[in-house]
């Protein structure tokens, strides 16, 4: 008697490298993840500023000239926009992971907290500078 031969030949497609370009949802996800790139630049500026501060007045002056260049301002504005976008996505996800209160309340609460902290820091720095 013949042993039956299986006709199975499952076809497995491979996920291409460009999978994230195929759908708007994935593109938005990649944009969210990419917000870290301009933020890295901002952190670089911050560290450079701290370093200059420890090196005396001349260095501090050159840091300030560096920061006033058009492209540096543009990149930092981009970093600001990116962090706002990231915050928006994060604040929307947070109530789903930790459903402590109605989502709308948690989302507006987080924005309010951000505004208060930002205003506090600005006030503090403003007074100090």
């Amino acid at each position: 008697m013949n042993t039956p031969v299986s006709a199975r030949k499952p076809y497995q497609s491979k996920l291409s490298r460009s999978w994230w370009l195929k759908h708007n949802y994935y593109r938005l996800y990649m944009l969210r993840e990419a917000t870290v790139l301009p933020l890295l630049f901002f952190i670089g500026c911050l560290l450079y500023g701290l370093y200059c501060l420890t090196q005396g007045a001349a260095h501090w002056q050159s840091f300030q000239t560096f920061m006033q260049q058009g492209w540096v301002i543009a990149l930092n504005l981009l970093a600001f926009a990116a962090s706002l976008f990231h915050a928006k996505t994060f604040f929307a996800l947070f109530p789903r992971v930790m459903p402590l209160a109605p989502a709308w309340l948690m989302i507006s609460g987080q924005w309010l907290a951000t505004l208060l902290v930002a205003a506090g820091v600005l006030l503090l720095c403003g007074g100090w500078l």
Binding site: S13, L15, Y25, E33, L93, R96, M98
Partner: protein, 238 residues
């Protein structure tokens, strides 16, 4: 009646080396679902078309297909919502057996790996008591129909089939949150591993495509919180 253009992915393991698209014209009105259209093709055009279905009412979870690249239940998706060619392919990230039929072995293995049943040392005959508040904690996550759409929406599962994936982790949360269950310790090793909750990067598309609005992405990320707690507690244990 309107004529709709369907592009259906065909794959015959006995003759084809890779899938191809085949065009069919299907008549439909505002009540015609994608599943109705596929059954029309099977009954009137090509009897060899392979597809899975059973209930036709979004409860058995067997009719999942990609419609224009998005995972959908065929019986819950209507032709009226599409205005040009409708491309119908088998669920993404799974191996295709024939036409629209995929092999779900891996998915089922992931589901059973997280021990999806009540684990406790309860042996009496009296009924378990549960308050509505206790029920509400996990009820949303208990509505899964195991259709696998979330796995087709998840690029992490596409990249790494060992990743437990949205439905399995949601199911683990469903039991971990159940007041009648004591099996969390038995499930945590699965969730803590690199193929567990931490394999998720919160793409979130799984929640978008879930036909039962379970929000699996939320469940997976709640599992991350649990996993982190489990880790911290384990540090203080001798």
């Amino acid at each position: 009646m309107t004529d709709y253009q369907l592009l259906i992915q065909r794959y015959d393991p006995e003759h084809d080396n890779e899938p191809r698209l085949q065009r069919f014209t299907v008549p439909g009105d505002h009540t015609t679902s994608v599943l109705d259209a596929l059954l029309y093709v099977q009954q009137k055009r090509d009897v060899t078309l392979g597809l899975r279905w059973s209930c036709r009412m979004a409860i058995c979870g067997s009719c999942g297909v990609m419609v224009n690249g998005i995972p959908k239940l065929g019986c819950k998706t209507f032709l009226r919502d599409y205005h040009s060619d409708i491309t119908i392919e088998p669920l993404a990230h799974f191996a295709v057996e024939k036409d629209l039929i995929v092999d779900m072995t891996q998915f089922l293995a992931h589901l059973s790996a997280i021990k999806p049943y009540l684990i406790n040392d309860y042996s009496g005959t009296a009924l378990h008591k549960q308050t509505p508040t206790q029920l509400a904690k996990y009820q949303q996550f208990s509505n899964c129909i195991n259709c696998g759409l979330c796995y087709s929406a998840c690029p992490q599962f596409g990249l790494n089939p060992e990743f437990l994936g949205p439905a399995a982790i949601t199911l683990a949360q469903r039991y971990n949150l159940d007041s009648r269950d004591n099996g969390k310790a038995a499930r945590m090793p699965q969730l803590n591993g690199k193929n567990g909750a931490w394999g998720c990067t919160f793409v979130g598309f799984c929640s978008d495509v879930c036909p039962k609005q379970l929000d699996p992405a939320a469940a997976v990320n709640q599992a991350k919180v649990e996993s982190a707690k489990d880790f911290i507690i384990s540090m203080f244990k001798p």
